[in-house]
Symmetry: C2
């Protein structure tokens, strides 16, 4: 079975958390919208969002088609993939803990998004710049350090050199944490030099994930969309304080 991933073209966004899991798992998948060239795949995506001929209509991308199953919500997709591809613990306790961490990462993703869209997703960034500045200031000063400090503390509990965020084994949550650091560095390079000093274990985990052969190969490929100012992680100099 070949998975079909549906996400907006040309951006990493939330789809990237799923892509990283598929790549690390060496899963057989096609990125339907991106790989169908130009924006040609968008109509296929919209057909799902409009619920035509589909029972479990997703509210928003990304969603994954796995045979007849259509799964939406990033953390839900990862929960599904994790269990099938050795990217989650075998035990129920371990799976709940991994999922809990992923949902906390998802909360952080939403807060990153809202640094540039604090008022409305229906407005351009330029129409909410003043509010964005205020929100981003709070984000880099308090929220990002709080979340990353928490993840750092969780990593401190493992045995030195062999620990992953959910325990002794690599999970999808590690891949997502890698992406979080990648994204935050792109969006807030100045603030991150300061923040990273207080979450060295998360940074070290990021480096270990980046060096994994399949992840390294993926990052070097043209399957990885570049960061830009249309995704979740956007670099606006005035927000990087």
């Amino acid at each position: 079975m070949r998975y079909e991933l549906y996400y907006w073209p040309s951006i990493q966004g939330r789809g990237e958390f799923v892509r990283l899991a598929l790549e690390e798992a060496a899963a057989d998948y096609v990125d339907v919208v991106s790989q169908s060239g130009a924006r040609g795949g968008v109509p296929a995506l919209l057909r799902f969002l409009e619920g035509r001929a589909i029972e479990h209509q997703p509210f928003a991308p990304p969603f994954l088609k796995a045979g007849r199953l259509v799964i939406g919500q990033t953390a839900n997709i990862l929960f599904y993939l994790g269990g099938r591809h050795g990217l989650a613990p075998e035990t129920e306790t371990g799976r709940l803990w991994t999922h809990q961490l992923q949902l906390t990462i998802a909360d952080l993703v939403q807060e990153v998004h809202d640094t540039h869209h604090p008022i409305s997703t229906n407005l351009y960034y330029e129409d909410q710049r003043l509010e964005a500045r205020r929100r981003a200031h709070d984000f880099v000063r308090t929220r990002a350090p709080k979340y990353l400090g928490y993840f750092d503390k969780m990593l401190a509990r493992g045995k030195k050199g062999a620990s992953y965020i959910a325990g002794p084994q690599l999970t999808y949550a590690d891949l997502s944490l890698f992406q979080m650091i990648e994204g935050l560095r792109y969006a807030f390079p100045r603030a991150m030099t300061r923040i990273e000093r207080k979450c060295s274990r998360v940074v070290e985990l990021h480096d270990r994930i980046a060096a994994r052969p399949r992840i390294a190969a993926y990052l070097a490929s043209n399957r990885r969309p570049p960061f830009n100012e249309e995704g979740i992680f956007r670099h606006y100099k005035e927000l990087d304080v």
Copy 2:
């Protein structure tokens, strides 16, 4: 085994979504912080958040202690409880779909929260009123109708009179959708008279849930905290446009 629910005292907040599931399941549970009187239970909650003597430290309340297991993140707790108390389908497909809907409800909960805290959770509402007005306006005009319209459409797929949000069977997602309508009516009574006209199936589901004997008994009890301006759903007249 008696479950222990940990959440901030005196507010419904995110804890309420868990309480409703525990009540409908007639589960044996204690609301540790609320029931220990005054704010006396808060230190017990903080011990968990500070990670003392606990392996799987939650980032934030609510969290549920189930024997030795400590589970955080509202949707994750409901996923766990749903499987144990007949509040989720038996099949994997059904469980993923229910969870997907719950995560979409969770996204909406966050958007409700941000109508009164668009800039920072570290500031009082009064310090972000202007921004709140702008965000709330967008919320009641576009976001709430979009989400509730989606849920209404999902309900339209079931057989008339017997359908729940995830299919033919009651799930925790129905209880959460009930709470969403309750909360939105409290926060935005004026806007909701307008919005509800376009999601009559969600309103009808709300009424059916409210009439369930265990839910009705719970709502009439003093275990149900009243809505107030410290929770997720807050009524500020100037935001109800």
